[in-house]
């Protein structure tokens, strides 16, 4: 089947263009529907990988350290992401743990691991084994990654609880804030550009 790497089709309205040459950070919009059409990656492979590894470290902190500490009449409780998810799973409505754990814990981790795998190989100028699978998974996972919603959710919870409990934000909360920014940088709409980035490198 014939394919045209020098053409670009707008995802939103099917308009077709010659692939433009862009400077770093530049974005072009479709003339017909004004949707973002194409952009130059903001990161090169090395920086991308470095930020992914950073994100993984921050992710460990976000999961291991308490999000908030609460005390009520002399009783204390600390909550990490994991412990909250487990507490939910053992509660009366087990199902509620599924979207919460998936969108905040599992999907972001999967995104980072897949990116690390793809980028590690891209650094050596080749496509990783299972590259197509990994890239497809990254595109499909993106809408279900809800770390930023969880961040606002935790802040709302803190304010909700502060009415009747003593609440102290913990390291985990700050880590989630940092991780949100990192994930937006590494797993944003730029992900698809890895197809072109690895293509250019794999050619002699």
């Amino acid at each position: 089947m014939k394919s045209f790497p020098n053409l670009i089709a707008c995802e939103h309205c099917d308009a077709i263009y010659q692939r433009p040459v862009l400077a770093i950070g530049e974005t072009v919009r479709c003339e017909t529907c004004a949707a973002p059409l194409h952009r130059h990656a903001r990161l090169d492979v090395d920086r991308w990988l470095a930020l992914t590894v950073t994100a993984l470290v921050v992710y460990v902190l976000a999961n291991a350290c308490p999000l908030i500490q609460i005390s009520f009449r002399g009783l204390h409780n600390e909550a990490t992401l994991w412990r909250s998810a487990l507490a939910l799973a053992s509660g009366p409505i087990t199902l509620i743990a599924v979207p919460a754990a998936l969108t905040v814990i599992a999907v972001p981790l999967l995104q980072m691991l897949l990116l690390a795998w793809v980028l590690l190989h891209a650094r050596q100028g080749r496509r990783a084994p299972g590259f197509a699978m990994a890239m497809k998974a990254l595109v499909r996972l993106r809408p279900w990654s809800m770390l930023e919603v969880a961040l606002i959710g935790i802040l709302v919870s803190v304010i909700k609880l502060a009415g009747f409990l003593h609440v102290i934000p913990g390291v985990g909360l700050w880590s989630i804030g940092v991780l949100t920014v990192l994930l937006a940088l590494i797993a944003g709409p730029d992900t698809r550009l890895l197809w072109e980035l690895t293509e250019a490198r794999s050619r002699p």
């Binding site: 995802e11 409780n77 509620i96 497809k136």
Partner: protein, 208 residues
């Protein structure tokens, strides 16, 4: 004004997963896959409108129990009380936290309702292939995609509060069935938006 060429009129398809533009012979249009990533190539998503309608209607149905049934049961020093999404917003408002009340109102009431209307409008106008307000409808679709998942906020708040407040008999918060329906609404509207093929907006007559 020059006429904008479209992939479908040239017999080409942009892969929806990796973006590669491929030539699809008209006789094999239903069975070809992208040579680069292997995803199935469709000029338009198959049954896009019917599937989107199904998800949207299911979401509207789920929205009723999500608002009527309690989402959270709070037990403080032996006194238990149920709260629904709307009482949660009213409580914040009465307590003077207008900002938080507004955030929750936007995420759990305004956004889902606006999404129902916006998707309904896109589906009806898409079916009729009308050239009316195409650019605006395209923008509306991108907005729906952008803000859609923020409705998960209330689900995550209930999950977090219920996961943290565990003081046995003194204070305990449990999630209730309503939040599951609400989560269902959010997931179904997200699926409806994903099923809808925005390229449909631009099909049909080029001019009025």
């Amino acid at each position: 004004m020059t006429v904008q060429l479209r992939a479908s009129t040239l017999g080409m398809v942009g892969c929806h997963l990796c973006g590669l533009v491929c030539e699809v012979p008209p006789d094999a249009a239903h069975a070809s896959s992208c040579p680069r990533c292997g995803a199935a190539l469709h000029a338009r998503r198959p049954n896009s409108l019917a599937r989107a309608w199904a998800c949207l209607l299911a979401a509207v149905i789920f929205y009723v129990p999500a608002n009527i049934l309690p989402v959270m049961h709070t037990n403080m020093l032996g006194r238990g009380s149920d709260s629904t999404i709307s009482t949660g917003i009213v409580e914040f408002w009465k307590a003077g936290s207008y900002g938080i009340a507004l955030v929750i109102f936007i995420a759990s009431v305004a956004v889902p309702c606006a999404k129902f209307l916006a998707l309904g409008l896109l589906l009806v106008t898409g079916k009729r292939r009308t050239p009316w307000a195409r650019r605006e409808r395209a923008l509306l679709y991108r907005l729906v995609e952008l803000v859609g998942y923020w409705s998960m906020l209330d689900v995550l708040v209930v999950a977090i509060v219920a996961g943290i407040v565990k003081f046995k008999a003194l204070a305990d918060v449990e999630p209730c069935i309503g939040i599951l329906f609400f989560g269902g609404v959010v997931i179904l509207t997200m699926l409806a938006a994903m099923q809808f093929d925005p390229r449909i907006t631009w099909d049909g007559n080029e001019h009025e």
